[in-house]
């Protein structure tokens, strides 16, 4: 492997500006993880306007920091307050909070921080080896491959994450439709613009993302009846014992691998990884009855896995140009706005950006490890801020921010419209993630599809004659049809009711 670009990447990371933005990113990420309300996807969307004025590599370093930083932050509230700050930290509540009740909050937090650091770092190393390989492999991809890949990606995100697959697919379909608004790349004709000049060039990504994720979530949170407040807790023992570390080492190792693998999978991501890691730890433990009562593996496994997954979920985006989850879709959009086209050529054409971002994650993880334990007290203080005060601040940042992108009031209107849509979607059980993901992939998908059809002269069966697109499409069909088959089979047996869906996944 050619090490020169990797080392150059480190040189990029160590530039003071990039270090600063990395610090800002991970700090904001931790804050976002701690504070209930906004998630990393919403925060990244709201901060998109910032990325326009700065260097591309700096922008992505910051946005990435927000994402994996949030995985660290969510742990704090899970352990101390039994309040999951992030969807991927929910599982940590079971054993983490139990440990806190036993006066061992510091142990839980320390194990979580160490596990997160190890998981994240191992994932970055693996990513460094895997990503260039995948990218070079994908350079041979043609329109049929991209069609299949985009279809599969959208389907997986709609399927694996949310409970109501039907609704997620609706969201994805709407997203794809929205992508058609504007000028048709092939014929030059206008589609669905209703004569409005602002729509002639298509819908702008940034206002949609900011409205859908940012304003939508804020509006949605207005209806939340507030949780009971708790007195500020003091964290006593700040460091886990050697025994704890020894006990957790296996869980950390397994969590890293599991998280890395699940993160690459579109739709998988940090939340699924944390769940799977917990299940694995409990299953393989010789004393499973300890789980739920303060088993350190129950904290180490999920926390390691969610960080590993958050890191590896960058792979499909940076190597194939396919976002693996909603947050990656926002970062995809950010890349387009900054003028970088994600895809297999990114490694070779923009090595400084590619390796700069990846190597920044090492630094980011180190910063987070350093910050997460001493600053716990600070974060608990921050939790005293009432959400009612944060809400209008976030609204105004979003509204004014969306204006600054194009100095256009129409963008604010668009943002508000999508804010309403985002609210309605979340309220009615539709995950907005697939919509944005499908929107960003929509142009690619349609183009690839039409090109493929032109190549195949209209014969769609030819998709299966090419090995890669064929395989991907077979997987697509399996994933698409599997639940129908399962549904038919399970109707033979008495079924228990499936409960509500998770509203936010990444």
């Amino acid at each position: 492997m050619d090490l020169a670009p990797v080392l150059d990447g480190f040189a990029v990371v160590l530039e003071p500006t990039n270090l600063l933005y990395c610090l800002i990113g991970v700090t904001v990420g931790m804050l976002v993880g701690v504070l209930p309300g906004l998630g990393p996807a919403a925060t990244i969307a709201i901060l998109l306007p910032i990325t326009i004025g700065i260097e591309p590599v700096t922008a992505i370093i910051m946005l990435a920091g927000i994402f994996y930083g949030a995985q660290y932050g969510g742990t704090i509230t899970s352990v101390l307050l039994k309040l999951p700050g992030e969807a991927s930290s929910v599982v940590t509540v079971f054993d983490g909070h139990a440990l806190a009740r036993q006066g061992r909050a510091g142990t839980a937090l320390g194990i979580a921080a160490i596990g997160s650091f190890v998981g994240g770092t191992i994932s970055i190393v693996a990513l460094s080896f895997l990503a260039p390989v995948v990218a070079s492999f994908a350079l041979d991809f043609g329109p049929p491959e991209y069609t299949a890949l985009a279809l599969l990606g959208i389907l997986l995100v709609s399927t694996i994450s949310s409970g109501s697959r039907l609704k997620a697919l609706v969201a994805a379909a709407v997203g794809l439709l929205l992508a058609t608004v504007g000028r048709d790349a092939f014929t030059g004709g206008e589609r669905f613009t209703f004569g409005n000049l602002n729509l002639a060039d298509g819908l702008d990504f940034v206002p949609i993302a900011m409205g859908l994720f940012g304003l939508g979530e804020i509006l949605y949170n207005l209806e939340e009846r507030h949780t009971a407040a708790q007195a500020p807790t003091k964290v006593a023992n700040v460091w886990p014992s050697r025994e704890d570390l020894r006990q957790s080492s296996g869980a950390i190792g397994r969590g890293s691998v599991l998280g890395f693998v699940l993160g690459i999978l579109p739709g998988g991501g940090a939340t699924l990884a944390s769940l799977a890691a917990y299940a694995v730890e409990k299953r393989r433990s010789k004393t499973p009855e300890r789980f739920g009562k303060g088993a350190v593996e129950g904290v180490a496994g999920p926390e390691t896995a969610n960080n590993a997954a958050a890191t590896s979920s960058f792979i499909p985006l940076l190597t194939l140009g396919i976002p693996a989850n909603a947050t990656m879709a926002v970062i995809f959009g950010a890349l387009l706005v900054i003028g970088v086209s994600p895809g297999p050529q990114l490694v070779t054409q923009e090595p400084e950006l590619f390796w700069g971002v990846i190597n920044s994650m090492y630094i980011g993880n180190i910063l987070l490890l350093i910050m997460s334990i001493p600053l716990v007290g600070v974060f608990v203080k921050i939790l005293r801020v009432r959400p009612a005060i944060l809400a209008p601040i976030t609204v105004l940042i979003t509204l004014i921010g969306v204006y600054t992108v194009n100095n256009s009031v129409f963008d604010i209107v668009l943002g508000i419209v999508f804010g309403v849509l985002g609210y309605l979607m979340k309220k009615l059980g539709f995950d907005p993630g697939p919509l944005l993901l499908a929107f960003v992939l929509g142009v690619l998908l349609e183009e690839s599809l039409r090109r493929s059809l032109l190549i195949f002269d209209g014969n769609a069966a030819q998709f299966f004659t090419r090995p890669i697109s064929g395989t991907l499409l077979v997987v697509f069909l399996i994933v698409a049809l599997l639940p129908l088959v399962q549904g038919a089979l399970s109707r033979r047996r008495p079924a228990a009711e499936r409960s509500d869906t998770t509203k936010e996944l990444v």
Binding site: H226, A228, T233, R386
Partner: protein
Amino acid sequence: MTVLVGYVPTPEGDAAFSAALQEARRRSEPLVVLNSPPGGAPVSVAVAPENAVRRMTERAEADGVALDLRQAAHAGDAADEVLRVAQEVDASVIVIGLRKRSAVGKLLMGSVAQRILLDADRPVLAVKP
């Protein structure tokens, strides 16, 4: 008929609790402790921590007073909440703790105690630590 005390984990609050406990004993009425943080935040300094709650419970038990602790958050004005709960539990007296507020403090934050004193429709017992 109950005795209502507005409690925060401060010296003023503790003084108010002690006075309220005495009152409840004297009147042979149950004691309602209102420890309501301003709404929303997951963590609030206004919430009585576990050891304070335990102490209050033990003292009430020792004195033979029935204790009703309310820690639900409130939206809006703290004074309004006290008066509302006073109405709800049919308080025969409201006990509050007083502390000195600087002129600027009064301007910015107002005085909850003052509002309770002026707007209450039942006796108010104001104590100092």
